[in-house]
Amino acid sequence: MINRHPQLDSHGALQHLLTTEGLPASILLHILDTAESFVGVTERDVKKIPLLRGKSIFNLFFEPSTRTRTTFEIAAKRLSADVINLNIAVSAQSKGETLLDTVNNLSAMNADMFIVRHAQSGAAHLIAKHVRSDIHVINAGDGSHAHPTQALLDMFTIRRFKQDFRALRVAIIGDILHSRVARSQIHALTTLGVPEVRVIAPKTLLPRMVERLGVHVYHDMAKGLRDVDVLMMLRLQNERMKGAYLPSAEEYFKYYGLTPEKLMLARHDAIVMHPGPMNRGVEIDSAVADGKQSVILPQVTFGIAVRMAVMSILAGNQA
C-alpha cells in the first residue's frame, strides 16, 4: 500500500512536525538556523513578529502540562498568532467525545495549527492523518513515542555550546523505556551526525533491542560517562517504583543519579541537560543542576525560539 509521508508534503517540505525520526538533517538544521534568528527576539524586550498574524493556533493538551504548553503559547504570541488553550483532559474527552471528533469540531472553527499532547503513542499521527490538508500539526508529546520540539531545542542547545555535532560523545541517562524525549533525541542526534550516542540505565528502563536505534548501551555510570561531552538526563516518574521497574528512588539515585562525583567522570567541559521538570535528589543532584556545567535554564529559553522556528516554518505567512 502507498502511504504518504506522515510529515512532509509532496515537495518534501515540512507539513507537520510529529517526530524527529525520518526527517533529513537539512530540515533539522533549517529549524535550528531559523531558531537562531529568533533568539535575539526573545532576549530583547520584544516587539511581536507578524509571521503568524491572523493564524489560529490551538493548544490541544489531552495530558496535563504547564511548561510545554506555556512555551508554545509564548512562542505563538511572539509570532502574533491567536492562541486558544484547551485543557481537554477535563472537558470533551470526559464526556465521551472521541479524539477525532474533538479535532474535527475545532477544525471547523478555522484552526490553522494544532499543538497536541496526548498520553497515547501515535495520537498526533492520527490527527495529522485526518485533518484538512491546510492544517498543521505539531506533536508536543505522545505517549512514549516522540517529543520532537524538546529534542530540537536540545539540539539547539548542544550546538550553541559545542558547535560541531560530528565531534561529540553524548550520553542519555535514565528511563529510556518510557521516554518520548529520549527517542526523539536519539533520532535527532544520529541524523545530525553525532558519532557516539550512549544510553545509560538499568535493564528494566531500557527497551529490548534499543541498540537497533543506533546507540551504545551502558548499565554502569562510571563506564558510560567516560569522555562524554554532553549528558542528557531524563526525568524519572514516581510510578516506576509501582510497576516493579525499580526498587526505590534512593537506590536509583545512588547508582544512576548525577552527582558532582559522577560528573567528574565525563569530560571537564561536558554540559548537563535536563528536559524538566527535575526531580532533585532522584535523577540529579542540586549541586549539578545548579552548577556551572548545567545548561538547563538556557534550554528553557531556547525552547521558545525553537518553537517559534517550527511554527513559522510550518505556517508562516510568506514574506
Binding site: G143, R183, R212
Partner: protein, 425 residues
C-alpha cells in the same frame, strides 16, 4: 429438488489427494457422483466450471459472528453472508459474545438462528468456564448436546492453572477438545505490539514472545497430564512453534492454527501506527512469519483460519493502543491462502488442505472433503481473478483489515451448501 451438474472444473480435494478435471453431480443435497454421471441422473442445472477450481467448502476455525451482544459491530446475517461470499461453508465461532456462550439455551438459539439463515454450518465453541471468567466450569456435556463441539477461552489462557487443569480433565472425560489462545496475561499487560524495533521506535507498550511461550509450556504440560486434546489458537512466534513441534513428536495430542494476518504480515506492517494492524496476538517479526510458513509446510501447524473479528469503524479511529483489536477476514481466507501458495510456489492441493480437510480434522467434523453420499458443500472459484480489497466490496459489517487496498487472487463464483446455491457471482 435441484440436481446440479458441475462440469469441466478442476476438482481439488486435498483429503483424497485429488487434483484433476472431474465433474460433480449433486442431488438431494448430497454428492451423488464424482467423475462419471450416476445412472439415471436428471440434470436440472448445469454449471460450467471451465477455468475454475472446485473444492470442498472451506472450514474456518475462527469467525466471530458478534451475536449475541455486539450487533452494532456485526450480525449473524451480515457475517454469514460474508462467510459464504468467502466460500466458507463450516465455521467455528468463539464464545466471546455478550453474554458468552456458556449456557445451552444461548447455544441453541444461535444454532437455530444460523440454521434458519441456511448459509453455512455454524459450530459454536463453548465457553470453557462460566462467563469466561476462569473460575467455574461450564456444563460442557449439556453444551455439547446443544451443539458445542469444542470448548475454549478465546482471549488468553486462564489465570488459575488449577482451574485450567480441572477443565481439561473434565473435557477429556467426554473427549471434548479444549481450544486455548496461549497468552500469559501477566506478561501481556497493556502491551499492544511485538517487543522489537518497531514498537521501540513507536513507543508502543510491548508483548514479549515469552508471553506466548510460557503459556504454551503450561498448556502442553497440562495436556500431557490430563490427556485432553488441545488446540492452540493463533500461534505467533517461531519459538512457540518449536515447542509445539516437539510436543507433537512426543505424541502429545495437540494441534494449532495461525491466522491469515500472521501468515502474511509482520510488525513492520504497523508502519506509522496503522490500527488495522492492532491484532492479538501481535504481529511479530518477519523471521517469525517465515517460521510459521515453514510450520505449515512440515505439518507443525495444522490449519489457517481467518480469525474474523469485525470491529466497528470508530473503534479503529483511535490512537493505536486505544483502538480495538481485530480485523475482518472471512472473505479473505481463500485469497490469502492462495497468495501464500503463489508466493511460495506451493501446490494448491497442499495449500487448500489447511482450510478444508485439515481444519475440519481439527474441529472434528465431517466436512472439508468430498465423498459420494456426503453433504454437498462446495466452493467454486476463479484462482486467476485478482480483485482489490475495499471496504465497500466486503459484505462483512467489519471493514477493517490490514489488506485494504491490496490486489488478491481468487474470486469465489459459487458457494454450495447442502446442495443449494447459497452464493453466486
Amino acid at each position: 429438488m435441484v440436481r446440479i451438474h458441475i462440469k469441466n472444473g478442476r476438482l481439488i480435494d486435498p483429503a483424497h489427494g485429488v487434483d484433476a478435471i472431474q465433474d460433480i453431480f449433486i442431488a438431494k443435497g448430497k454428492i451423488a457422483g464424482i467423475g462419471a454421471m450416476p445412472e439415471g441422473f436428471q440434470v436440472s442445472r448445469v454449471i460450467d466450471a471451465h477455468g475454475l477450481i472446485v473444492c470442498p467448502g472451506l472450514v474456518d476455525l475462527s469467525v466471530r459472528l458478534r451475536e449475541p451482544g455486539f450487533e452494532y459491530k456485526a450480525t449473524l446475517e451480515s457475517e454469514m453472508a460474508a462467510a459464504v461470499a468467502g466460500g466458507v461453508t463450516s465455521l467455528a465461532c468463539p464464545p466471546d459474545t455478550d453474554p458468552p456462550l456458556d449456557e445451552p439455551g444461548l447455544v441453541e438459539m444461535l444454532k437455530h438462528r444460523a440454521r434458519n439463515l441456511n448459509l453455512a454450518h455454524v459450530y459454536p465453541i463453548g465457553a470453557l468456564t462460566q462467563g469466561l471468567k476462569g473460575e467455574r466450569l461450564t456444563e460442557m456435556a449439556e453444551l455439547n448436546d446443544a451443539g458445542c463441539v469444542v470448548f475454549g477461552q478465546p482471549d488468553s489462557m486462564l489465570v488459575d492453572l488449577k482451574v485450567l487443569m480441572q477443565a481439561m480433565h473434565y473435557a477429556s472425560t467426554f473427549e471434548f477438545g479444549v481450544w486455548l489462545r496461549p497468552q500469559e496475561r501477566s506478561l501481556t499487560g497493556s502491551g499492544v505490539a511485538h517487543d522489537a524495533e518497531v514498537a521501540i521506535r513507536l513507543g508502543l507498550p510491548t508483548i514479549p514472545v515469552c508471553a506466548e511461550t510460557i503459556a504454551i509450556a503450561n498448556i502442553l504440560l497440562l495436556a500431557k497430564e490430563t490427556g485432553v486434546k488441545v488446540h492452540l489458537c493463533r500461534i505467533s512466534s517461531a519459538e512457540g512453534l518449536t515447542m509445539i513441534r516437539a510436543a507433537k513428536q512426543q505424541g502429545i495430542p495437540v494441534t494449532c492454527d495461525i491466522s491469515i494476518n500472521h501468515l502474511h504480515l509482520s510488525d513492520m506492517d504497523i508502519g506509522f501506527f496503522d490500527s488495522n494492524c492492532h491484532l492479538m496476538p501481535p504481529l511479530r517479526s518477519s523471521g517469525d512469519r517465515d517460521a510459521l510458513r515453514a510450520g505449515l509446510l512440515d505439518g507443525a501447524i495444522d490449519a489457517i483460519c481467518s480469525d474474523h473479528t469485525p470491529v466497528d469503524e470508530d473503534a479503529k479511529l483511535l490512537p493505536f493502543g486505544q483502538s480495538e483489536v481485530g480485523a475482518t477476514g472471512v472473505e479473505l481466507l481463500l485469497p490469502l491462502t492462495l497468495k501464500w501458495a503463489k508466493d511460495t510456489r506451493l501446490p494448491l492441493l497442499r495449500a487448500l488442505a489447511k482450510i478444508t480437510s485439515e481444519s475440519a480434522k481439527v474441529l472434528g467434523v465431517d466436512a472439508g472433503h468430498l465423498a459420494v453420499g456426503n453433504a454437498a458443500d462446495l466452493c467454486i472459484f476463479d484462482p486467476d481473478c485478482y480483485w482489490k480489497v475495499t471496504a465497500s466490496g466486503l459484505l462483512s459489517q467489519g471493514k477493517n483489515t490490514p489488506f485494504l487496498g491490496m490486489e488478491l487472487p481468487g474470486k469465489i463464483r459459487y458457494t454450495v451448501l447442502n446442495g443449494q446455491m447459497v452464493y453466486e457471482q
